[in-house]
């Protein structure tokens, strides 16, 4: 089987040093697990729940991506040394929680400040991590979509359950009912409060007039069920992302959203409301401004990051499009396989040679099962992968927005500075003016203005520095989150792919003796 891939001549070092997990079943083998890692308990799943289908052992440790300087890969080959100097400070911590295909939560482990700290720019991250006295332990679930009301005024209500052990919350477990516009309202409040000072506020799921109308009208079909499910899981991800942000978590609006049973209706989120139109106008104005501001970037880090995000944005969009295509085609494949299965069954029926007839019917059954497999795979493709990509495309837009705000802050500062300069010039002109009676008054005025402006300039500078600092922190946080998010999802997805293949093998292997039995 290895014939298809030829490992480069690295010698046997790579293979022999590789210790497989005891049960020999782990498929992402990681040397990390076999070492006595100095890190505190990797939250291994206590027991592998009945995922009978997955024959992969419980230790789905993540792919060994980290080139940890403490070198957990000491016994691995020379490639480690190749990497360590080039490592970027955004590498993830050690093995992330072992993957259970069950819950979507990824727990932020508290051990970031420990041994792996050298990897990070201490100043930035330690502050954040040490901030929360609690360990981050929160689980939000969005469930039970229920249609409330009728006709065009109907809406979907969702149940939001918060389970937490953190002290800032009043109860350990809260359940509230919310509707979609509540989520949007929350987001708009957070955005107006935090975006312009540089915090990356996770974007809310998008409005969809078509989807919602179908639901409102009461069409009980597959596509509207899918739509509701899509939205539900998007809302859940949105909330989890929001609370993972240590600053946003403490925002009173967030807490109110999660805890209070009644929430004032967020009317301003409606598409055609006054606020909505105002938003659109602002967006247009922003776009124009962006084009006209020519920022003097003094900080290479920002330059680089900006570029990086642009690239990432492009690639992710492209990938997202391809994955959506894949989902579509796989669904098609499953439909065609099903129709073939039916026709093969009929063929088997009309075949008069008994063994052959039986074999053909078996073939039909196999194909039917395969069709089911394909369908499931398509769902996995979609829910795991494509949605994640969509989320990140939107997130990156938010990140870019934050960068833009920084630009705006800078430009404001510069403008104030220019104004100050003008006033100073005016002041010095006054010195040489020849109107003694008005002079004193004018001079006083100008002095006042100058003082005011000086204050503003200082403020502007401070603002700019603050936003720059915040962005740095945010970006590194974002990168960490991104790594984690993708890792979790990719592993799950890969698992599902492998499972599919395994099932395929099983089915065909079961079919083979039937085919051989044709006499």
């Amino acid at each position: 089987m290895a014939a298809e891939m030829e490992p480069p001549p690295l010698g046997d070092a790579g293979q022999t040093d590789f210790r497989e997990i005891e049960d020999g079943e782990g498929f992402f083998v990681s040397t990390v697990t076999t070492l006595e890692s100095p890190e505190p308990s990797s939250p291994d799943p206590p027991s592998m729940p009945a995922e009978g289908i997955s024959t992969n052992g419980p230790k789905q440790e993540d792919i060994s991506l980290d080139d940890d300087p403490e070198d957990l890969f000491a016994e691995a080959t020379e490639e480690v040394s190749l990497d360590s100097p080039e490592r970027e400070p955004i590498l993830s911590d050690g093995p992330s929680p072992a993957i259970t295909p069950v819950t979507p939560t990824a727990m932020l482990t508290p051990r970031m400040g420990l041994g792996t700290a050298e990897m990070f720019e201490r100043s930035l991250d330690e502050i954040e991590e040490d901030d929360s006295g609690d360990t981050f332990d929160m689980h939000i679930a969005v469930s039970d979509p229920e249609k409330v009301g009728d006709g065009m005024n109907a809406y979907m209500g969702y149940k939001v359950t918060t389970k937490t052990s953190m002290t800032i919350f009043s109860k350990n477990e809260t359940t509230v009912r919310r509707r979609f516009s509540d989520f949007l309202g929350l987001h708009s409040k957070l955005a107006s409060r935090y975006l312009h000072i540089g915090y990356i506020v996770p974007p809310a799921p998008e409005k969809s007039i078509v989807g919602m109308t179908k639901v409102k009208v009461g069409k009980e079909d597959l596509s509207s069920a899918e739509f509701v499910e899509k939205r539900r899981s998007a809302l859940e991800r949105y909330l989890m992302r929001t609370v993972k942000h240590p600053i946003l978590l403490k925002d009173p609006d967030v807490m109110m959203f999660l805890e209070s049973s009644e929430l004032p209706r967020a009317v301003s989120t409606q598409a055609l409301s006054g606020a909505g139109i105002l938003r659109m106008v602002n967006k247009a104005a922003d776009a124009v401004n962006k084009m006209t501001i020519k920022m003097n970037e003094s900080d290479a880090w920002f330059e680089e990051k900006h570029q990086q995000f642009e690239n990432l944005d492009l690639q992710l969009r492209k990938l997202h499009a391809s994955v959506e295509c894949l989902v579509c085609h796989r669904k098609e494949l499953s439909v065609n396989t099903a129709s073939f299965a039916k026709s093969a069954a009929m063929l088997g029926n009309s075949e008069d040679h008994t063994a052959l007839s039986r074999a053909l019917s078996q073939l039909a059954e196999v194909e039917e099962k395969i069709d089911q497999l394909h369908q499931d795979q398509a769902y996995a493709d979609f829910y795991l992968f494509s949605e994640l990509l969509g989320d990140y495309v939107r997130l990156i837009t938010a990140v870019k927005g934050v960068f833009d705000h920084r630009m705006k802050t800078w430009s404001k500062w510069q403008d104030t500075q220019l104004l100050l300069q003008k006033k100073r010039e005016a002041e010095s002109k006054l010195q040489f003016a020849n109107k003694p009676d008005k002079l004193q008054q004018a001079q006083d005025e100008i002095k006042e203005e100058i003082e005011e402006l000086e204050g503003k300039v200082q403020q502007g500078e401070k603002d700019f520095e603050l936003i720059s600092k915040t962005i740095r922190k945010e970006v590194s946080r974002f990168e960490k989150e991104r790594v984690k998010d993708f890792k979790v999802v990719i592993i799950k997805y890969l698992e599902s792919l492998v499972q599919t293949q395994q099932q395929l093998i099983k089915y065909w292997e079961a079919f083979l003796p039937e085919a051989k039995a044709i006499a």
């Binding site: 790579g14 498929f27 093998i505 051989k516 006499a519």
Partner: protein, 405 residues
């Protein structure tokens, strides 16, 4: 574009029928083929111990149209009315890959260089698959002829194998093609009438029912199998797009696996069904011919009775009747033989192909696993911006394989 296949490739190009080259007195194969634009030139190679041929080992170039000529010549031979004439090989159809190639060329600007190369490779593989398929189908046609006790001795067949100059003089011109088209129409109309005739023999009655039913079912299955493999190809193409967006390293990855699964499946399942669809048509043709002779016989009976009534030209009518009866019996006899061996052949062929298909699926699913994980390792490399070494990659994958086995 020219492309050739070699012997080793052909070993793998799985044949739809089995054990056709058993009789060493006449061995035929197509070792070589050239594809120019629309035309495929086959090199038909014969090895024989029979004295009826001038040389024991020789090759001739033939085109698709020559095969069709041979087939039609056989069909038109009265003596072979009681035999199942192997179905003519279908015209080589490069339309689909060519169209895709065209689209690819148009979309070249929007793709990265790598993606383009990959897609091109895929298309070339598809093209090659179509090519292999058509060679195989032509070869099988000849081999069935050579393994048939009666047909292998046919004079036209010998000419086909031996005549070292162009056969184009023998081919149909437009008038003849039109004529044969017309004949086909008449035949189908006849078929409907004939199927109303009461069948005297149980065996044939059964066969008729079975073949009619089976042929419609197999047509249906073939169509759906084709759709299925086309969808599969689409999925494979998507994987190419995805993986190219991942800036993959130059290793064997998921795309080739999925793509190859699709094209191998094509060769197996769909081909099997398609071939038997045509074969069944040939069997139906036999039944038709026999039914015709039955009709003739009945007509001659009626004519005889009339003649007897009128006491005119009785002898001639009697002779006519005798002839018809003879023909009918001959056809029934050989027809029975043919149909029985046809059934046996079909069962064996299905068995072989289903087994091979299952084994292939298993093999590809196993490789597919490693392929999938490979492409996603690469994805991680990309998305996480980490410098992921190739070596670590393969190490992990080897262990993946080991755990799979």
């Amino acid at each position: 574009m020219t492309s050739t296949i070699d012997d080793s490739d052909k070993e793998k190009a799985l044949s739809v029928s089995v054990d056709l080259n058993n009789d060493t007195s006449l061995l035929i194969d197509i070792p070589d083929a050239l594809c120019e634009r629309d035309k495929v030139k086959f090199t038909v190679h014969t090895k024989t111990t029979l004295s009826s041929f001038q040389k024991p080992d020789f090759s001739v170039p033939r085109q698709h149209e020559d095969f069709i000529w041979l087939h039609d010549a056989l069909v038109e031979t009265e003596d072979y009315a009681g035999l199942i004439i192997p179905p003519a090989p279908p015209k080589p159809d490069f339309e689909s890959p060519r169209e895709k190639m065209h689209k690819l060329g148009e979309g070249e600007a929007t793709m990265t260089k790598e993606e383009y190369t990959k897609m091109k490779q895929e298309l070339e593989a598809e093209y090659l698959a179509v090519f292999k398929k058509t060679v195989q189908v032509h070869e099988v046609f000849l081999q069935r002829l050579s393994s048939h006790p009666i047909l292998s001795k046919d004079r036209n067949f010998q000419i086909f194998l031996e005549y070292d100059q162009d056969l184009s003089v023998r081919r149909k011109n437009a008038k003849e093609t039109f004529g044969s088209f017309f004949k086909n129409m008449v035949k189908s109309a006849d078929e409907v009438i004939i199927s109303g005739i009461k069948e005297v023999d149980d065996f044939f009655e059964q066969e008729k029912t079975f073949l009619l039913d089976y042929s419609s079912k197999i047509k249906d299955s073939t169509a759906r199998a084709e759709k299925m493999t086309r969808s599969h190809k689409n999925v494979a193409d998507d994987y190419i797009h995805i993986s190219s967006t991942l800036n993959s390293l130059s290793v064997d990855d998921n795309t080739k696996v999925e793509g190859r699964v699709a094209s191998d499946q094509e060769l197996k399942l769909t081909e099997l069904l398609r071939y038997y669809m045509r074969d069944i048509q040939a069997a139906k043709d036999l039944l038709y011919r026999r039914a015709r002779t039955l009709a003739d016989y009945e007509n001659s009976n009626k004519a005889l009775d009339k003649a007897r009534l009128k006491s005119k030209a009785v002898a001639a009518a009697e002779e006519q009747q005798q002839q018809c009866l003879q023909r009918f019996n001959k056809l029934s006899e050989s027809g029975k033989r043919e149909l029985t061996s046809f059934k046996g052949r079909r069962v064996v062929a299905f068995r072989k192909n289903l087994i091979e298909m299952a084994e292939l699926e298993i093999k590809h699913a196993k490789v597919g696993q490693t392929g999938d994980s490979l492409s996603f390792y690469l994805f991680l490399y990309f998305i996480l911006g980490q410098k992921f070494t190739y070596a670590k990659l393969t190490v992990s994958l080897n262990s993946l394989e080991n755990s799979r086995k």
